[in-house]
Symmetry: C2
Subunit: 403 residues, 2 copies
């Protein structure tokens, strides 16, 4: 007998038929004698529909507290419907909202973090032989007000429950059947991995592979929760296990990822004084702007240029923050490029294999693709290229390493 | 400065425009310096849509606990949207779910009764100068599980808050602008009353006037909460005040109501032994079947007949309960008549005016309408007639007394 936490995303419960499908997956595990806790997101487009209703009433943007009150109704509907589907199969079940399941968070509405999970109610329901269906993405703060965890928060809810209950396995069901070496819709030769480490998964998630939410992987790593990524539509197909240490396979590179949600900003013609980089990145940090690849280069006339990438959504904010620095830094101009994409390869142990970077650059060169920026870490190499070249670049790099 | 509780039904908040309309009504009261607590139902058809989703997943009927979990999401959406609309007007507001507002109920899911209202959170929010928007219809039980109060429960929520806070006024906004002497859509000469007593309102509600939920009127009477029925679409028009004692007006009869949701059942050919009526009505009470008008008459051969009316929805259940009694009571047959309606006149002090009943029967006689059963109380007279005659009967009786 095992204790299994299963998480199903919004598309897995988008309509009555899919809800019944999920109920059947759960029933199979329960009937084998396992204890089962299920975390569900809001159905399909519910969240988007609710946001639309809110903006219709207040186009300038409602308060985040009321937004969380509104959006958390989405999971309330999906947990009740999934519980009803499980009831229909004749199995004992109880649905729990975030606060009922014991999720206590900080008060940052919309992007709350879990401060504590008091799992006593979940444990009591499991002891009563109930299947427990928990609303993902939500909790309450110290004022007893409802908070939401932000995008991908249901993954985090599932991992938190698995960590708290010391579950044997935490299965994340999505619409893909595992983690691939590249996007299988784009790269025909993409291969599914049977295992991957937390760190590799983190790099892949950050780099736009969009399989698992990053915070959930970080939490899984911290509490050593074994994750499995599976497909709810093909529940018989084994997925990809994410864990701390995996047996080394012949494949060194674990995946190739593309991230088109990136913009390059260059501050051109800076005086070469100490503290300039600090001033630039400090003002961005104060505005919660995440900076990714950073490049500093010598410009003309002994001045220097600093370039970096940010998410497209933070582009404007970053530029106006920098413009405020103009009087202090006296730079020449700010140059921007939205038409870029980041392509990265990820693999543990990469830093001990010096040929990896050269092989990647060679593959890009042979495909006639120009590299604008380069960034490396212990387990990844990222290049910034023109957006139009991105898909070809992924294919070329994937073929060089994995085919 | 007054403390006002305002309740808006689902049709008053059915879309973004109506939500803004309600926000403006609230703002006007708040800006006059009043403290305002607002109780809202789920938007328009939300509840019906959610029920449909539930039955799609489990056509045999989901458990009541999960149904309450599902349906209570409806008010959660409407309180958040209304709070956002009030925010847009620049006023301070906070939305509260049933449990956050302190509604503690028993555990009868779907038809829960309020056991206690701990209004401390509402009071704290009022002290912070917030407009407080509360989800009607819902609470939690001792297991911290969500319950709903059943049809019309939002009226009860509003009255409970008004009672607990000792509010100066509890305004119930509906799609009519007050309580009329008859259905104004059917009877052209129907007149709006400026005041009516709790008891009269209770009789009118029971008799199918469908303006206020009965439990809410009972609670208002018990705690002496002054109610006002108003229209959310014509907020400037004064409504009808419901209270304990009103100044006597020349009009003796307060209203004429029609109830088509009734069936007559006759148990024919009963032996004339003691205890027979007890046995019949005891078995019906055990099955929670509400009996309205009762008539006992002498039949042929020294046997007797007992006739009574029940709601149409309980008709079948009542008949099968009686059939089980056949071996014990040895009656001849059960006769049923679904094609009936009840028409009633209501007015305090009626019992001291012996001419009232005669005047009602005369009006019906002159309209050529046959009376099947009669029932009277201190403040009402009801007659059972053929369903097809009901509208004519209301008009004839209304004209006789009120025109």
């Amino acid at each position: 007998m095992a204790l299994i936490v299963k998480k199903f995303g919004g598309s897995s419960v988008a309509n009555a038929q899919r809800v019944m499908n999920v109920a059947n997956i759960i029933a199979e595990d329960y009937q084998k004698g396992n204890q089962v806790v299920v975390v569900v997101s809001a159905q399909g487009d519910t969240t988007d529909d609710l946001i639309e209703k809110a903006l219709e009433i207040n186009p300038e943007g409602p308060s985040k507290r009321e937004m969380d009150m509104l959006l958390s109704a989405g999971e309330q509907i999906s947990i009740a419907l999934l519980a009803m589907a499980i009831e229909r199969l004749g199995l004992p079940v109880v649905s729990l909202l975030g606060w009922q399941a014991g999720f206590q968070t900080d008060s940052k509405y919309g992007i709350a973090r879990i401060k504590n999970l008091d799992a006593s109610r979940i444990e009591a329901e499991l002891a009563r032989k109930n299947i427990v269906v928990v609303a993902g993405f939500q909790g309450i703060n110290k004022y007893d007000d409802i908070t939401t965890l932000g995008r991908g928060g249901s993954d985090t809810s599932a991992v938190a429950i698995a960590a708290s209950l010391k579950a044997d396995l935490c299965q994340i069901y999505t619409d893909v059947d595992g983690v691939y070496t590249a996007d299988p819709r784009k790269v025909k030769t993409a291969q599914k991995m049977s295992e991957i480490t937390y760190d590799e998964m983190l790099e892949l998630a950050t780099l736009g592979a969009q399989v698992l939410n990053n915070r959930s992987v970080e939490m899984a790593k911290k509490y050593n929760v074994e994750l499995e990524v599976r497909s709810s539509l093909e529940p018989k197909v084994p997925g990809t296990i994410v864990k701390e240490v995996i047996k080394m396979e012949k494949m060194l590179i674990r995946g190739v990822a593309k991230d088109s949600d990136t913009s390059r900003i260059s501050v051109v013609g800076l005086q070469d004084n100490p503290g300039i980089a600090f001033k630039i990145f400090n003002v961005l940090a104060q505005k919660n702007i995440n900076v990714d690849i950073i490049l500093q280069s010598i410009g003309r006339d002994g001045t220097k240029d600093i370039s970096f990438t940010v998410a497209k959504s933070q582009h404007k904010e970053a530029v106006s923050a920098l413009e405020e620095l103009q009087p202090a830094l006296n730079f020449k101009e700010i140059a921007c490029d939205d038409d870029v994409a980041k392509v990265s390869i990820v693999g543990t142990g990469m830093e001990t294999h010096p040929g990896v970077a050269a092989k990647m650059f060679e593959a890009l060169y042979e495909a006639g693709i120009n590299i604008k920026m380069i960034s490396t870490s212990e387990i990844k190499i990222s290049v910034l290229i023109n957006a139009k070249d991105a898909d070809r670049a992924v294919e070329a790099v994937h073929d060089a390493f994995i085919r």
